[in-house]
């Protein structure tokens, strides 16, 4: 018998012990996953016409149920599934945020009365764009109801991603989160070539980056003999030598995670995907992926690599500064509003990174607040974009927004609110968020990073305010788009995000209290 077989044989001799799993603590994940499986069955067995209402009930019901369990779990602080899943304060906070944003995203995706042709998705994603088949499907009112299982699977992946306490679970969750999003990005009803192109780019670059993540995980496993974040951390403090394995491992792992948060220089996919994807999906993805990816990044940095902070901090300083500057500067030159918001989201990722590199409990709390505030504002922004339309669909070119403030004052006012919040003007959630991350950075001695951040904020304020000026201080032209009155779905999502943007700006204390109680990651 070869030594390899001998060692495997020896391993199987050890008695099997039941893994201890606290099923209630992971109930939100199980509820969403179960709902996703049921929703695939609905796709299989419910006739065409009845699918949409059934799917809506499943999606809304399961998200609300998962949210209820998450709220009931507050104060929980445990590691379950043999150390694979950590349910602690930050996890629960991010679960809550992801579920609420997921619900708002589902409402946007359910909207059917904005576009006269139907919802935001192609009637059959497989039909050739512009073909007779496609026109026939549109005429008969077909809907691609597979978007609902995709939404649920993506949301499940995100919940696992922020809670995963070892690199294997994290990798699987990364893929469960990403794969449905790649497909959703390619399913737009209008401008399908752009949409398919976005899906291809998102997929190829996403797969490329997840391969980097995996190889980084392999290096760290080679160093420590375990994929558990805690075990890696213990080995890092106990064992010296083999520094190259650790350095390569951390660097590759960071590439994978920074790709998902869209940090420079791993941001190239963002503008293309944000512009090409159906707008409700862009809103959902922009808000939730940011939370999920930063959640995982924070956990890896704080739990696993905390002892090496002197090694990774300089790298992240540079990336944070570059991300803020490149995002803000390039956004100025954009003429398409979705593309502009994509670069704005890159700049915002830089601001959040300022909180991340503070590497203190205060930095963690400020990054969490920023993420929640940013997510609500973002989904609201994209909700407005779905409503501003002309004959060919959404009017995303900035010139078509000229004079919108005179044509539709209410919607323009709400959009201005979101722009001001993204720019970080006082009395909006964006200001509290930015103040928090900058304060945390100064406390941990990164004053120069804050200076870069303030400069980037000023540059960014330019293009946010430019949209407001365009809407209010120029006259409507014949080209100016008009605002379509949406149904209750979009109205609820838009109202909720606008209310949260103001509420977190004027009375931020309640969320700050929740975040303080949430504390730090469990080890």
């Amino acid at each position: 018998m070869s030594p390899l077989l001998a060692s495997v044989g020896a391993e199987t001799e050890t008695a099997f012990t039941m893994p201890s799993i606290n099923y209630y603590a992971i109930a939100p994940i199980l509820i969403l996953f179960g709902a996703a499986v049921v929703s695939v069955l609905v796709e299989a067995f419910v006739p065409q016409r009845g699918r949409r209402p059934v799917q809506l009930v499943i999606v809304v019901g399961s998200i609300v149920a998962a949210l209820a369990v998450t709220i009931d779990l507050r104060g929980t602080r445990l590691v379950t599934g043999e150390g694979a899943i950590a349910v602690d304060g930050p996890t629960l906070l991010m679960w809550g945020a992801l579920l609420v944003i997921g619900l708002l995203g589902a409402l946007l995706m359910a909207e059917r009365s904005i576009d006269p042709l139907g919802d935001a998705f192609a009637p059959r994603a497989s039909a050739l764009p512009g073909s007779e088949d496609e026109q026939e499907f549109t005429r008969r009112g077909f809907l691609q109801t597979e978007v609902w299982p995709f939404l649920l699977f993506a949301l499940t992946g995100m919940l696992v991603f922020v809670a995963s306490n070892d690199l294997l679970v994290m990798f699987v969750a990364l893929e469960v989160m990403s794969l449905p999003l790649y497909l959703l990005a390619g399913m737009a009803r209008r401008r399908r070539l752009l949409s398919q192109e976005a899906a291809l780019k998102y997929f190829l670059l996403g797969a490329f980056s997840s391969a980097f993540f995996l190889y980084g995980a392999a290096m760290l496993y080679g160093f420590s003999g375990s994929v558990s974040l805690v075990a890696i951390s213990d080995t890092l403090s106990a064992k010296t030598g083999e520094g190259s394995l650790v350095a390569i491992g951390i660097a590759l792992l960071m590439v994978g995670l920074l790709f998902k948060v869209a940090a420079v220089p791993f941001h190239q996919w963002t503008p293309d995907v944000y512009q090409g994807a159906p707008t409700p999906v862009t809103g959902f993805m922009a808000a939730t992926v940011k939370i999920a990816a930063f959640g995982a990044l924070l956990r890896v940095l704080y739990v696993s690599l905390g002892g090496l902070r002197w090694d990774w901090e300089p790298m992240l300083w540079i990336i944070a500064a570059l991300t803020m500057l490149v995002g803000s500067v390039v956004a100025i030159t954009q003429t398409d509003i979705k593309r502009m918001l994509a670069y704005s989201s890159i700049a915002q990722a830089g601001f959040i990174l300022v909180g991340v590199v503070a590497a203190s409990p205060q930095g963690l709390a400020s990054a969490l607040f920023y993420l929640v505030a940013y997510a609500f504002t973002t989904i609201g922004t994209f909700a407005v974009i779905t409503m501003v339309r002309d004959a060919s669909g959404e009017a995303t070119h900035l010139s078509k927004w000229a004079g919108l403030g005179k044509k539709s004052p209410v919607v323009a006012a709400v959009f201005s609110l979101f722009m001001l919040s993204l720019a970080g003007i006082p009395l909006t959630s964006g200001f509290v968020g930015k103040f928090g991350v900058f304060a945390a950075a100064i406390d941990s001695g990164n004053t120069w990073l804050v200076i870069v951040g303030v400069v980037a904020s000023v540059i960014a304020a330019f293009f946010y305010v430019r949209v407001i000026v365009l809407m209010y201080f120029s006259d409507p032209t014949p080209d100016t788009a008009s605002v379509v009155i949406p149904s209750a779905f979009t109205t609820i999502a838009l109202t909720a995000s606008a209310v949260m943007t103001i509420a977190l700006g004027v009375f931020p204390q309640w969320l700050l209290d929740i975040i303080t109680q949430a504390g730090v990651f469990i080890r």
């Binding site: 764009p129 497909l183 752009l194 391969a211 995996l214 496993y221």
Partner: protein, 99 residues
Amino acid sequence: MNPSSYVVLSALLFSIGAIGVLVRRNAIVVFMSVELMLNAANLAFVSFARMNGNLDGQVVAFFVMVVAAAEVVVGLAIIVTIFRTRRSASIDEPNLLKY
């Protein structure tokens, strides 16, 4: 045989895959290069499992294989859709998303 040679081999495979993604122009070949990178990671996991004397790495390799299969399916679906629209699988041709 010394397992560390396998780690070196996996690093080589990973680099070949990464270079393939960067220089090749056919979406399917790019995608195959990504798969090569994933399998290089698998080889590293299995070799490290041997060196560390535990089975974690082998378990990871199983999961990676399944995830890679799921990725293949999603990727081929997207590439085939693009191909049917454009009659080409070149990644240079989809260039509408530029300003």
